[in-house]
């Protein structure tokens, strides 16, 4: 009987481990933030479920499986919420969802390093500015790809001009509609 349990938990654990590894690998390989987010959060919950289930089988009838169930329930509730909230914040802050430009070459992601807290000196016409700054940042991004990584971080810090997080100022509903409009703008 416990040989069966051992085999079952071994299978569960190893697949869970594999899922988790795939998640990690995905986070490294994915070109753009939202796809990375997708890879991480999906395998997060999936991998965790498998591993914790595998451990529960090993726990026997002591208090341990209940603790594992508590952990599983907690993870199951919080990590999707955290991923959702993170994605929402990223979208509102103007992280570009584009990951391919017209020529098919992977578009380096938008540099939304938290720009310095200088008040955004842009003029009132925010959207047009964000489009120009979008193009400017993309051009700069291309240059940055060539420069070695350390220099890139220095260049991006100095030149980073954050597209104004204007969407956050308005209530969320209008922002979501507007945000949907904005990425299209950026792609042109």
């Amino acid at each position: 009987m416990d040989l069966l349990l051992d085999i079952a938990s071994a299978i569960l654990l190893l697949t869970g481990g594999f899922f988790v590894f795939v998640g990690g690998f995905g986070v490294m390989r994915m070109p753009e933030f939202f796809t990375r987010m997708h890879a991480a959060s999906l395998t997060d919950t999936g991998g965790a479920a498998l591993i914790l289930l595998g451990l529960m089988l090993q726990g026997g009838l002591t208090l341990v499986p209940f603790k594992l169930a508590a952990i599983f329930l907690f993870l199951f509730l919080t990590s999707p919420t955290a991923s959702y909230a993170l994605a929402n914040a990223a979208l509102l802050s103007g992280v570009s969802t584009a990951c391919r430009n017209e020529t098919g070459a992977p578009l380096p992601e938008n540099e939304v390093d938290s720009a310095d807290s200088k008040p955004a000196s842009k003029s009132v016409a925010k959207t047009s500015a964000s489009r120009t700054s979008g193009r400017k940042t993309t051009a700069k991004q291309a240059a940055e790809q060539a420069a070695p990584k350390a220099a890139a971080r220095k260049a991006s810090k100095k030149a980073a001009k954050k597209p104004a997080g204007k969407a956050a100022k308005k209530p969320a509903r209008k922002a979501a509609k507007k945000a949907a409009g904005k990425p299209a703008g950026k792609k042109s």
């Binding site: 907690f74 509730l77 919080t78 919420t81 955290a82 959702y84 909230a85 929402n88 390093d113 938290s114 310095d116 807290s117 971080r153 810090k157 100022k169 209530p171 969320a172």
Partner: protein, 330 residues
Amino acid sequence: MITIVFSLFLLTMLVIVAVGILRTDNLFTAVMLSGIFSLIMAANFFILDAADVALTEAVIGAGISTVLFLGALALTAEYDRSPPVGTWVPLLTSSALGGVIIFATLQAPRLGDPNAVVHKHVAPWYLDRTPELIDVPNVVTAVLASFRGYDTLGEVFVVFIACIGVMSLLGRVRPRRDSIEEDEFDKRTDNLRHHLIPRVVGKMLVPFIVLFGLYVQFHGDFGPGGGFQAGALIAAGVILYSLLEGGPRGRELVPEWFSSLLVALGAFTYTCVGVVSMAMGGRFLDYSVLSHDPVHGQHMGILIIEAGVGMTVTGVMITIFHAFSRRGIR
């Protein structure tokens, strides 16, 4: 064998993250990486068989310290604009320091070798005599609360002073400067109310977090846990609530006067236990005189002072968080 492999992995990661913290210019990134630093440190402690310390480091290092740093960052700049000042002197001093330590520890006892002096002198006494003298499964709690209870008393007063300091520095709410009046501003900025899903899930979890904190508090004698960890966990629950609902609502849940009263009461309880044991003829903090049977007295003493420590740490963490969040965005 297992510990060597894992600690090798984790320690190298620790150094990589520390170098990452040093090199990044963006303070926000540094705070996030210091959160990872504490988590790796806590995982390392767990592998080195220090379960209590791992729990404390996780809850306080990764939890409370990140939240405090973010609170401070919200009120100050988040860019480390200045280029590093003349790097020769700091480089020289720190490498001299490192050199001296490496030179000194070449002869130090290996990790985990059983006949190191440390395992020979004072530690075996604690491990042998605790079941008989204090009869508490968790020897760390026994040493923390009873054998070296005076240290923990000093510890509680260190936390008490931190609360006093933050209150006297950030106590007085500053007059507003800019045009946007306060409540409208706070409505928009201070909470995550318009994020519907986190708000629902978060508020559902707050009672369970506080319950888990109380479990850790009273489970301290049998498993990893105790006053410090429990206080930080309960405070984390309240902090989660005021993150979601916003500062003013958070301060309604746990008002200022209550949390600072909790702080003073916890420290006062701890000292009272000591004074009562003096009054009953024993030495300061000698719990065996507290009741007819010494072991029972030790149990009672440890329970009360752990409650005192829990009260103080909860009160301090909540007061400090509210002091930072009430300072708000002026």
